[in-house]
Symmetry: C2
Subunit: 377 residues, 2 copies
C-alpha cells in the first residue's frame, strides 16, 4: 500500500458549478461527486461491509468521538486500525470529534487549548485537543482526516461566530503542524466555519486555504438553519473555494441536498439521515419518502422502488417489509437501511452521469419534480 | 411444483439407532438427520433468506401462533403463502400453534373443542381448534404441517398427562380428517405426547401411528425436565417408533442434543436456542460456548471458530465482534446468529457423514469431549 492522495477534475459543467472528478487514494479511487455512508462506531449501522460494497460505496465515514470512547485507540492500534478491524478495504474518512463534542450537554470546559467533556457511555472525562484528535485519527487510519474545529450552533451572533471561526483557524494550524502532508499516509482536510455570516465564511476560506490542506470542507451548515439560508451561504461561498481541492459539505444530505450541493460545486457529502430514517421504517423512492409502517402497504406486492437494484427491492414486497417492521424484526431495519444507502449512491451515480452528459438541470428538475411533489403531499 | 412427499432411508447405523435418509418434497430435498432453523414470524431472526441458504439450511420453521396474529391469514393468502412473501424457496415446516398457546398466561378457556386465548400483541381473543390450525397452516403453505396437540408442562401428574395425551389423539384424528394426505400439497405429521410416563408414550405412539401420518414427532420433551430424564424417555420410546416415517424431536436442540437425539434415531430437530443465545452474544465453538461480551476477547484476533466457514468467521475477529456487542450494533446480533446457525448445520452435516462412515461414536466422543469439557469450566 503506497501513500497516495490526488484529486483530479475530469469535467466541469457549463450548466452550473457542478464538477466531475476522482480522488485517488492508497485504498482505491473515489469518483466525485460522492455520497459517503456513515459508519459511526465501526459499522454502517445494521449493514455488513460486503453489503456496503454491493451498494456501491467507494468510501465510508468513521466518527472519531464514538471510536475514541469505544473501542478506544488501544484496541484500534492493536488491530492495526479500523479498516482491518471492521474488514473494510476501501477508503475511509474520519471526522475530528469536534462536532459531536460540541453537541454534548456535558461539556465541562472549553478554552483555546481544547475541550473537556464527559463520555455519554460512562461519564468518564476526556480532553480533546487538535493534537489529540490527530493522534486518534491516525489510530483509526482513514485515508482522509479532518481538522479539529469549533462548530457553533444556529443561531449564533456574529461575535460568537467570529470567535469560533478564529479558534477553528488556530486549531487548523495546530492540526497541520501535528499532521504534515500525508503523515502516516493520511490526507488532512481543512474546515471552513463562520456560521451564517458570509464575510466570516470568506475570511475563513482564505485563511484555511493558506494553511494548506489536501481538501477543504464546509462545516457548520445544516445545523438547524432554514434550507434557503444554507443555500444562500453556499451560493456566496462556493465561487471563492479553491478549484483544485475536493470540497466536502459535512453532514449533508438528503436526496434533494445532493442536487443542491452538486450544482453549487460540492464534491463530497455524508449524512446519517438515510440510515437513521431507515431504522424508523422510512425509505426513499423516486416518488418521495414513504413509511413502511403505513397500513396502505399491508397488501402491497410492489418493491420499495421498482428501479432499485438492492437486495430488498429484488426480493421483498412493501407488504412483507411492513410486516417485518410491525413485528419488530431486525431484517426490516437491515433491508430499509440497505435500500436507502443504495438509493443515495445510485442517485449520486446518476447525477454524476447527468453532469457528464450535459443534462444535469433536466435530470434535477425531473427528479425533484416527482420526489418533492409527493413529499409535500 | 408437483405435490410430493416421500421419506427414504439410505443407511442405518450399526453403532447406534442413528439413521441417514432424505425427505423429498415439492420444494426440494431435505437430507436427514437435519437441524431446522426457526423463522418465528416469517424470518429467521436477524438473517436474510440468502444467508440462511448459505448457512446450508435445507428447511426452516414457521410459527403458526405468531403468523396467525401477524401478518394473519388474510395477508398470507394475498401473498400466496409465506414462501413467496419471505422469499424462501426451500422447504418449510410449521408447528400447530398449540405449544405457544398452552405456554401463554392469558389462556382463557380450554375444552375438547379447542383453546381460547388473548393475543400477546393487542389482547384480542382468538379460538384455536384442530381445524383452525389446519386452515392457518394451509395459508402459510409449509411442506410439513403439524397436528394441533396439547403439550402439558413439567412436572405433570399421570392423570393430567393421560388427559392431555387422550385429547391430543382425538385432536390428531380431527386434524387428519380435515387435512387428508397431501391436501394442498402439504404433508401432516402426528405428535406423540405422554409427558414423562413411558406407558403413556408407548400408547400415544401406537394410537397416533394408527391414524396415519407422513411423519411422527416427539412433543412434550425439553420442557423443563432434567436432561437424563428426557434421554430415558427417548430410550424407552424410540424402539417403538415406526421405522418408515421421519421422526422429529420438537424444540430440541443444543449441539450436544443433536448427538443425543441422532444416536437414538431422531431425524429432525429444531430450536430457537442457537439464534436466541446469539442475540445475547453467546456463540458456539468446538471448545464450548463463549460470550463475545467477555473482556478477554478485547484484543483477540481469532475468529469465533477457526474451522467455521461463515461470513463472520471469515471476516471478523472476536475483538471486533465484542466491540459490536458493547456498542449495541445490530451487525453483532447478525453475525452471532449467522455463526450459530451455520455451526449447527455444519455440525449436523458432520454427524451425518460420521454415521455413513461408521465413525459416529468416535466423532461424538471426540466432539463432546472438547465441547462439554470447556462448557463445564
Amino acid at each position: 500500500m503506497t501513500d497516495k492522495f490526488t484529486f483530479s477534475l475530469d469535467y466541469s459543467s457549463e450548466e452550473c458549478w457542478g464538477r466531475v472528478g476522482r480522488i485517488q487514494t492508497r485504498r482505491g479511487e473515489i469518483p466525485t461527486p460522492v455520497f459517503m455512508p456513515v459508519g459511526t462506531a465501526g459499522t454502517v449501522k445494521t449493514l455488513a461491509p460486503d453489503e456496503v460494497k454491493t451498494a456501491g460505496a467507494s468510501i465510508i465515514l468513521g466518527n472519531t468521538y464514538h471510536l475514541m470512547l469505544r473501542p478506544g485507540t488501544g484496541v484500534l492500534d492493536h488491530f492495526g486500525g479500523l479498516h482491518r478491524m471492521m474488514a473494510w478495504d476501501r477508503p475511509m474518512l474520519t471526522d475530528s470529534g469536534g462536532f459531536q463534542v460540541f453537541s454534548l450537554k456535558k461539556l465541562n470546559k472549553i478554552n483555546d487549548e481544547g475541550v473537556e467533556f464527559a463520555s455519554h457511555i460512562d461519564g468518564a472525562r476526556y480532553w480533546l485537543t487538535p493534537e489529540e484528535s490527530m493522534r486518534i485519527q491516525r489510530s483509526i487510519g482513514a485515508e482522509i482526516m479532518m481538522v479539529f474545529d469549533e462548530c457553533c450552533p444556529y443561531p449564533s451572533d456574529e461575535k460568537t461566530a467570529r470567535a469560533a471561526m478564529e479558534r477553528s483557524v488556530a486549531w487548523a494550524k495546530r492540526c497541520r503542524a501535528d499532521h504534515p502532508h500525508l503523515r502516516n499516509g493520511q490526507a488532512l482536510f481543512g474546515i471552513v466555519q463562520g456560521s451564517m455570516y458570509l464575510p466570516l465564511r470568506l475570511e475563513s476560506i482564505k485563511r484555511t486555504e493558506e494553511i494548506g490542506f489536501e481538501g477543504l470542507a464546509v462545516g457548520g451548515l445544516s445545523v438547524g438553519e432554514p434550507k434557503p439560508l444554507m443555500l444562500e451561504i453556499l451560493d456566496g461561498m462556493m465561487p471563492h473555494m479553491p478549484k483544485n481541492l475536493p470540497r466536502y459539505l459535512m453532514g449533508v444530505g438528503t436526496p434533494e441536498d445532493l442536487f443542491y450541493g452538486v450544482e453549487r460545486g460540492i464534491d463530497m457529502f455524508d449524512c446519517v439521515h438515510p440510515t437513521r430514517i431507515a431504522r424508523h421504517a422510512t425509505v426513499f423512492t423516486t416518488e418521495g419518502r414513504i413509511s413502511l409502517m403505513n397500513a396502505r402497504w399491508q397488501l402491497s406486492d410492489a418493491p420499495i422502488d421498482a428501479d432499485c437494484s438492492c437486495y430488498a427491492c429484488r426480493n421483498f414486497s412493501r407488504g412483507y417489509l411492513r410486516h417485518l417492521f410491525k413485528a419488530k424484526e431486525i431484517l426490516g431495519l437491515r433491508m430499509a437501511s440497505l435500500h436507502n444507502v443504495t438509493f443515495m449512491i445510485n442517485l449520486m451515480n446518476n447525477i454524476r452521469q447527468s453532469l457528464i452528459e450535459k443534462r444535469f438541470i433536466a435530470f434535477r428538475d425531473q427528479f425533484l419534480g416527482r420526489y418533492l411533489d409527493k413529499e409535500n403531499k
